[in-house]
């Protein structure tokens, strides 16, 4: 059924000022959803960000492993044992522990996650990072994280860094950023790591990064590793680990839950605002709708007008808020070094929510039209 007259559109643009305020209201509700969705997405991304930078097919972690920064040590023999399992190309041991970075200006101590690795090993997906890590052969040298918070104070390649009250020399940098987990990070060699934490000898890693021979099936090798290694470790594939990490952060940690609740409330608020706008719009035109009804137009036709108008409103609200949220995200990134980025999935997801909001509001608002009895009018 085609509408010869685009009635919904004409209704919308008839009273421009009213429409502008209505769109403003919707725009802000959508912006609120964008904000909360951005937080949630950033929390999710943040949780697995580190693992996405590392190059591995399977990961050996301890039985008590909880999340990246709450791992437990594994015996170095697990790494050695894993090397002899068929399908395994290489296994590298990685250490990770929270340390303290000293701001040279105000002497503040800031949280810093220290990665301990074997210089020359292939740890990262980015070859440039592997090349930088190879520079750490000398003792008491470190790579600094460009995405550490500004509160770390000034530092430069070739200059000193004070971590855990020990002075290290900065040999290079990389971009990782710990987001919600810590103020920043640093990479050192195994030897330097042991010194920083006063560990007498290399006996334990936190992670074993397993890479497979070309063509090997990750699930099959993971099963073989689980059989070969004692029960004190777990073997996870990369997707399993990423999924586990994100789930832990979003569904278990309070921050993730708060963002979810926030998004839900924003959605409800948006639906209520939209309902309010649509229903006052319909109330104002009740006579016109009743007249249309009396003229013999079907209820479906009139419904379609209401729904179309809801769609027009929500789309008119969506696009400006999409633009605004780019600015909001930029502001958030600048203020909190929180990895909030706009991506297509999020834009589409919020568009979907906006349309759902519109549908819910329209269904409630349209109840009025149904009750409009032409006879009441005259």
């Amino acid at each position: 059924m085609f509408a010869r007259t685009p009635l919904a559109w004409l209704n919308t643009i008839q009273n421009k000022k009213r429409t502008a305020t209505a769109v403003g209201g919707i725009c802000f509700a959508v912006l609120l959803i964008f904000m909360q969705a951005g937080f949630l997405g950033a929390a999710r991304l943040n949780a697995s960000l580190t693992y996405r930078q590392f190059d591995f097919d399977l990961m050996i972690v301890s039985r008590g492993y909880l999340m990246l920064t709450r791992s437990e040590s594994i015996d170095i023999y697990r790494v050695i044992q894993a090397r002899s399992v068929p399908g395994v190309a290489s296994v590298e041991g990685l250490m990770l522990e929270g340390g303290r970075w000293k701001n040279p200006i105000n002497n503040d101590n800031l949280s810093c996650f220290i990665f301990g690795l074997r210089p020359g090993g292939n740890y990262f997906a980015d070859p440039a990072m592997n090349a930088s890590a190879a520079l750490l052969r000398d003792r008491q040298t470190v790579l600094a994280d460009r995405l550490s918070r500004a509160s770390y104070g000034p530092w430069q390649i070739g200059g000193p860094a004070v971590i855990n009250r020990q002075e290290l020399s900065i040999r290079g940098d990389y971009a990782l950023g710990m987001g919600l987990l810590a103020d920043g990070s640093a990479i050192v060699s195994h030897d330097t790591y042991l010194r920083l934490f006063g560990i007498p000898q290399l006996a334990q890693y936190q992670f074993g990064l397993v890479r497979l021979t070309p063509g090997a099936d990750p699930a099959a090798v993971a099963a073989a590793l689980r059989d070969a290694l004692p029960r004190d470790v777990m073997v996870l594939t990369k997707p399993e680990l990423v999924e586990r990490e994100e789930n832990y952060f979003v569904n278990v940690k309070p921050v993730g839950i708060m963002f979810q609740v926030g998004m839900f409330v924003a959605f409800i608020v948006g639906a209520v605002i939209l309902y309010q706008i649509l229903s006052s719009e319909i109330a104002n035109r009740l006579r016109e709708f009743a007249t249309l009804k009396a003229m013999g137009y079907t209820e479906r036709y009139i419904y379609a007008i209401g729904i179309r108008q809801g769609l027009i409103f929500s789309l008119m609200g969506y696009f400006p808020s999409l633009l605004l949220s780019f600015g909001l995200y930029r502001l958030l990134r600048a203020l909190s070094s929180f990895p909030v980025y706009m991506d297509l999935t999020r834009a589409l997801f919020v568009l979907g929510l906006t349309l759902a909001m519109c549908a819910i509001a329209a269904v409630f608002a349209l109840g009025k039209i149904k009750r409009a009895d032409p006879a009441d009018l005259f």
Binding site: M35, D108, N109, P254, V255, V261, G262, V269
Partner: protein
Amino acid sequence: MLIDKPSRLALSVVAVAFSVVIMFMELGFFNGSNDSAANIPPYFDCDLILSHKEKNHMKTGEEFPLAWVFKARDVPGVAASVAPYTGADYWWNPQAGSRNRVFTLCVDLEHPMFATGIIAAHRKALREPGSVLYDRLSRRELGKIDTGVKSTLGASPVKVVGLFELGPNFTYEGHLLMSADTFLKMHGQSREIVDMGLIRVKPGADIEEVRRRLLAALPPTALLLTPAEIHAREVSITTRRSPAGIVFGIGLLVGFAIGVIICYQILFNEVNDHLPQFATLKAMGHPPRFISGIVLHEALLMALAGFIPGLLAGAGLYVLIEHFTQIRMFLTPGRILLIFALTSGMCLIAGHLALKKVHSTDPADLF
């Protein structure tokens, strides 16, 4: 004028109520993050807290020798000083076998100067090595824990001999109290290195005076703060340093801005519809102030009408969030007043914006 159209009134009230809920929610997150991060200081039962100058919040471990704590006792005006030990460890869920991070606070059983009543009630049981008090409000992931449950902390077996209430925060899923002896044995840690000293001054002594004397007697790297100052510092660290504080702070601002826009939209429509009446009032010679008064009065009524359902819904939302996150959400009278002030401010700003329209109406245009 407000009750002229009941259906519109209901909608306006709902809209205001929702922006109130959004503000409550963001403020709740903000405070939940701050309160829970600063959950320890309110339980200090002392007058001054000694720490290393570089220790910028409770969870960093700049340490100093125990000798400082003893030295403090010689300073005139100091009644007693003790050193608690703190640490983070992993608690094994005795049912599921999973592991979670807990904060352990270890006190001198005779002079705890921390949650004194709780320690006194369990003093005898805590003397037994390996016995701990468990925070009943810790997250469910830690397991079903009651008095008598045996579990593992790090690598050591522990037994729960009593419960207390504190609540988890964003960093730690639970809290434990135990004797300093148990803690030191468990970690093989030296008694001589501490990170805090709790000091009580003699009754009647001036705290500021004692603080000056202590600073003079102790090495220059010593820092002395009152429990209230420690609390304020914890909150400010969370607010400024952690992204969570910033994120929820921005959320609160955006919630407020949205409230202004929604209220403006409602009032604008309201004014728009009553424009002939306003113009008539103007034509009748009422001064602009009288008309402003009506609109602002209307705005305030709207704020009040929206605030009450918003408060109720907000309180419900807090219970819900508390249930899911187990972060304690406190709805104090001060916070309720703050939101009420914000709501009134929001409606008044919106009222002023809407008034521009009224003042620009020319009675002559109408007739």
